[in-house]
Symmetry: C2
Subunit: 359 residues, 2 copies
């Protein structure tokens, strides 16, 4: 009743296990006749090689581990989706390990994957270089996507968070906004810090005062921030949230409080997750092609695995540049309407606002 093994196949095909292995791996020379016999036996026995045994002999697992933080939502599911597609195409399996609250847990997760994966994609912003290095038993290829600037000697992919944030603010300025509040991501998170820095820099450049409300990359935290804004005596005319889901949370709070978006307050997010296009008004945001980025990451890691130790070490830091996706949530105050009007842009900057004109 237990599944057939390679010996069963060899016996039935009347060849050696070596031949069976060769046929199955397309490695080494075999006659057509042998191949035929083996394949028939495989079919008859419903044989599937035991991957553990294979991995023991080859030191390969055909599996990639993905270490995610404790955050959930469309960003990560989109990313995984892109990786999954690429993994299947390349004959790899995907082990996901998520909800790691801290460096300790992420580290344990990484360690527990040793011998189980050929490489790792790490998205946990909790992990610094030191932790990461000590978590890695041996020389496991790792692709870093934890928002850091990229460790010296590790391949990595980072989003240009700073540049994206600057673009966000500039877009708001162009559409006539001046009192721009930022809802930040969690403290200590490298992505949120870069977005915050971009906001501060762009505002400073425009000579405008800044205001930051703390968020945590969750819808609830965006909602809380939105509530606070709705209760402010002197309200901002625009909000830049560090990610889309907080922007949505803020939008709902503002609207439920009777404020109009974008007429009273413009709103811009970051990521371009699917939901950004499903709220009304549609959410303007800095778009990253998330699934595509995931696909690219997986493919790059596999390339690294396949060329390990051949001298041409890939340790570069690849940058993904977010693109402005304009939807109705930032239509200029003077042009704003309640209908969905993507692409609407300010022609005449509104003048009755404080702050200097940019540029």
């Amino acid at each position: 009743m237990k599944p057939a093994n390679i010996r069963d196949v060899a016996r039935r095909a009347d060849v050696s296990v070596a031949s069976v292995s060769r046929v199955l791996n397309g490695a080494g020379p075999v006659t057509a006749a042998t191949r035929e016999k083996v394949l028939q036996a495989v079919e008859a026995l419903q044989y599937v090689p035991h991957s553990g045994a294979r991995s023991l002999s080859t030191s390969k697992t055909q599996t990639i581990g993905v270490v995610l933080p404790d955050l959930y939502g469309e960003f990560f599911s989109e990313l995984i989706r892109g990786m999954d597609v690429a993994a299947r195409a390349l004959g790899y399996h995907l082990i996901v390990s998520s909800s790691h609250d801290d460096a300790e847990e992420a580290s344990a997760a990484i360690r527990s994957m040793r011998g189980r994966v050929d490489g790792l994609i790490v998205l946990s912003p909790h992990l610094d270089a030191a932790n990461l290095a000590s978590s890695l038993a041996g020389r496991l290829p790792v692709l870093l996507m934890n928002g850091g600037a990229g460790e010296a000697d590790r391949p990595s992919i980072v989003v240009d968070n700073h540049g994206g944030a600057v673009q966000a603010v500039e877009h708001l300025l162009e559409t006539g906004r001046r009192r721009i509040v930022h809802i930040s991501g969690p403290a200590g998170n490298l992505e949120s810090e870069a977005r915050l820095a971009g906001y501060l820099q762009a505002m400073a450049k425009a000579g405008l005062p800044t205001m930051v409300l703390d968020g945590a990359f969750t819808q609830a935290s965006g909602h809380v921030a939105g509530l606070k804004i709705s209760e402010m005596a002197l309200k901002p005319d625009a909000v830049f949230a560090a990610n889309d889901i907080m922007a949505v949370g803020a939008m709902l709070a503002l609207q439920d409080a009777g404020l109009r978006v974008p007429e009273d307050v413009a709103l811009i997010g970051f990521d371009d997750v699917p939901i950004a296009d499903m709220v009304r008004p549609g959410l303007t945001t800095l778009g990253i092609n998330i699934a595509e980025t995931g696909r690219g990451a997986l493919e790059r890691l596999v390339r690294i695995i396949n060329t390990a130790d051949d001298g041409s070490a890939d340790t570069s830091c690849e940058t993904v540049r977010p693109q402005l996706v304009v939807r109705a949530s930032t239509a200029a105050a003077s042009l704003a309407r309640s209908t969905h009007q993507p692409g609407a842009r300010a022609v005449h900057p509104v003048s009755a606002l404080e702050g200097e004109n940019p540029q």
Copy 2:
């Protein structure tokens, strides 16, 4: 440079590999002194057991495979999230394999997991019993969640789709709606068929005419259906979409066409994914605690794995009953307002509508 193995540890601790194994597995008797020496060596060498080798000896992988269909979205990511949490708590890893367009692909995915997992959770509605059985080499425990009624001899978890659909229609009837259209899920999908059947039955019971628009469980298909509805001469006063994401698609199409929800058309979905609470009006739906269901599924499968062949085979079909979650999208026409008013219910059924009064 290659990672330490059990022999390295044994040598350094000056014991046998058997003792190292015993200490690490907490199996068999060891003196405190031995344990101490081993643990120190493990620490010094950063030793982590090779899981492939372990799985070869024990025939256990501590890994669960999850086979998903080609559909993406919050439903599946929430489900995976619940499973992931449970898996970590129980010391299991999760291999996900998704985007299987047909039974063939899902079948191949299952086969490729042999020797790699201790059990499988199958969510691919493409897989029928025959395909499934032939995909399984040996006696791999499988928990079915593919929407089928549950195969005779396999443990399964199914959502009471029929009952939920009946509840959906009854809720619409109670709030005064009579011209109720259904946007169905993809043909051949067992979940969508059960929801459709529930709709048809409830409408028949109420003596009302039915109308079905074909959907595919995607936002785009819901949007198309919404457009069609907005162009109908005699418009329905309510729409029951077979899942939330189609309901959202329909909502946007209706609103963009100038129709008001719920004043002109009430809308109800199915699943209660997070986005249902982020659109305006909030979407009334039949809620399933998705993450919780995923957690429960994983735990049940592990239980099955641990008691395999002990005689007490668990082959029951567990039913998850969806619960009505009332939000503003189905506020009674007479009471409907544009502000978010969860829980608003009709007091006086609207009378100026065709169709007979239910009950």
